[in-house]
Symmetry: C2
Subunit: 384 residues, 2 copies
């Protein structure tokens, strides 16, 4: 079947030609990726993890009703998914007391962020985020040629006032704020964020990532008018709803902004099984409540395990806990490496001084037994 | 929960502000979408279709092994999918006799085309395609500011020589060719395409969309060296493999080109259930063979039904048949509308003179019984 090229050019020539095919922007982009996935680490290690607590997935899984809906949808997967995600969008609108025109369903928050950046950020445009906040947002901004400006965390919290002041200073198109935040698990009340938004520049759109908000105390979600043009909120079925692998996220915003996504999104990009699963998951509040309780209990247990080892867990409104290892980034890195070596997948923050911590996702009781068993060993080896 | 905006600006002001948020390119884009989906039509009609034969899906469904794999994966969907699609990529490499570095798995061909255009087409760059070929490719090109140049079909076939000559004339970054083609179902032999590629300009990348190639006679797939830098081939699990709703496509190309996608793709964008299903589907050649036979039989039956009604079906190497209605586009449009009205979802080509045809996807025996029943009525009504 294989045939040689008709006239075979040199390898160096081919590489140069391939390079020249890319846009100047793409040629300027680094080849790095935002994250190394756990499967990649498992292949490198040659052995599976004993506990998968590094990606803020929900080990408690999706609602059994969602699983059943996905299994039923598998037999109908020969059909493209509904390009409008009509049923899911209407159910979400009802849940949030908004109109369907305020809701956009997309391929996870990652996909929605990518399209949002594409819509709003031209090369050279300024964008503001926190130093150490979600790397995939930064990846999209850089990928579209935006200029990132970073604001430090303040006392392990993102700092809305400083973010919005920086946005004003640099004339930002977008300012990114996660609440609750990743990787520290800290949070602000929705009313505090709303108050800070009084100083949001008129030309800046606030990207409020509420991926973890269902793990947070009441009042953490920001309460704004559905058509408020100052912000877009991002939500997901990947966290509390336990469907990270299904790739279903959604955005809440003014209709004009939601409608603009139709100019760039993949209209038939939503997988049919994920749509069906999310719709069923949304209808199962009992399961949601159970997972919320499981997460709260797991956070407490991680805090207790940390304390038993002389470490302090930070308060968390998410499905993970940042554990302060009490020293510098090298020490935390050693802790992460040691835990991974012992079969426990965890990660850590990227930026100083948050990178004194390691980040542990909530696990089952069995997962946390393994954590309790391995943490002292990891600590001893790191102190070694 | 709802609060008014702190200082409520006028509606017109809000709209203008929202508009100003978008990049100049996005502001210039039309609000149109490439396709209206069948679910949207069903909601407009208020009644389900009796036969869904308009989107070139495979009514024969996925392999039962793929369904079982997806159902098993549903319970594990709390985990993100493998960012490298390692197992699927390796299986595809083995199937095609290439290296895993030659293979990229993505969210359907639509997603892969979008990323390819983003990688290669800067605003103003020229791109060549056939007039009436895949609208979603055009959507991506326009969406990234590319300048589309269109070449007519020749005797209801895409015209590689004319496409490549136009690419040379306009200095195209990309030239799109589907083989077999959509919407006519015609095809060229792989060796004819390879011969035509001798005139492909050095600076132009050929995007060879082989979405339907598993429905085509042997020798339709182009046989090139795996590292040939002149082209990228697109394949999918949406057609013969019956998994359109799972959103799994892949590209075959030189490693340098495949690697570049890592600069822009959503690394965790592949849904886990689709990965599992595709891997199982790929291993079930018996099912593939059965579907190929079912498709061939359905094509014959559509041809026979057309002939019974005095219409002529075009030869097809795909899972659909273009039926020449023997008059103009208005007549074909009336036929489509009448069939839709009678509960049979079909579509038609966009461009003259292909739009004298209607496009009917292969159906089950029951589907085609409904087609046989409704086509004479649609025809009678169109002839008025």
């Amino acid at each position: 079947m294989r045939q040689a090229l008709p006239a075979r050019p040199s390898c160096a020539y081919l590489r140069a030609m391939t390079h020249a095919r890319f846009t100047p922007l793409v040629q300027s982009l680094p080849a790095t990726v935002p994250f190394v996935g756990p499967e990649t680490q498992v292949r490198q290690r040659g052995v599976d993890f004993r506990a998968r607590l590094g990606a803020n997935e929900s080990v408690f899984g999706p609602s059994p009703r969602a699983v059943a809906a996905m299994q039923a949808a598998a037999a109908e997967v020969w059909m493209y998914g509904d390009a409008e995600s009509h049923d899911l969008r209407h159910a979400l609108a009802q849940r949030h007391g908004v109109q369907p025109q305020n809701v956009l369903v997309g391929e996870g928050i990652d996909g929605l962020l990518g399209n949002l950046v594409r819509l709003t950020v031209a090369p050279g445009d300024a964008v503001v985020t926190s130093d150490g906040a979600y790397p995939t947002f930064n990846y999209h901004v850089t990928g579209h040629g935006g200029a990132l400006h970073k604001v430090p965390f303040r006392d392990d919290h993102e700092d809305p006032a400083a973010l919005f002041a920086k946005a004003r200073e640099v004339g930002a198109k977008l300012v990114y704020l996660s609440n609750p935040d990743n990787p520290m698990g800290s949070w602000h009340s929705g009313s505090d964020i709303l108050a800070a938004m009084a100083d949001l520049p008129e030309d800046t759109l606030l990207v409020l990532d509420e991926a973890y908000v269902e793990c947070a105390p009441r009042g953490t979600a920001v309460a704004v008018a559905p058509d408020d043009p100052r912000l877009i909120r991002m939500r997901t079925f990947s966290k509390v709803y336990g469907m990270a692998g299904a790739r279903v996220g959604y955005a809440l915003a003014a209709p004009e902004l939601i409608a603009a996504f139709d100019k760039v999104r993949n209209h038939f990009g939503m997988n049919r099984i994920g749509q069906a699963g999310a719709l069923a998951a949304l209808a199962d509040d009992d399961w949601l409540g159970q997972v919320q309780r499981d997460i709260a209990a797991a956070r407490d247990r991680i805090g207790a395990i940390a304390a038993e080892n002389g470490l302090s867990a930070l308060p968390s409104a998410t499905n993970f806990v940042a554990v302060d290892c009490g020293r510098d980034a090298d020490f935390a890195k050693a802790m992460v490496d040691n835990l991974v070596e012992l079969g426990v997948f965890v990660r850590m923050p990227f930026s100083t001084p948050q990178n004194r911590c390691i980040r542990i996702s909530c696990g089952t009781a069995a997962d946390l037994d393994i954590l309790a068993e391995t943490l002292p060993q990891a600590l001893a080896a790191a102190r070694g």
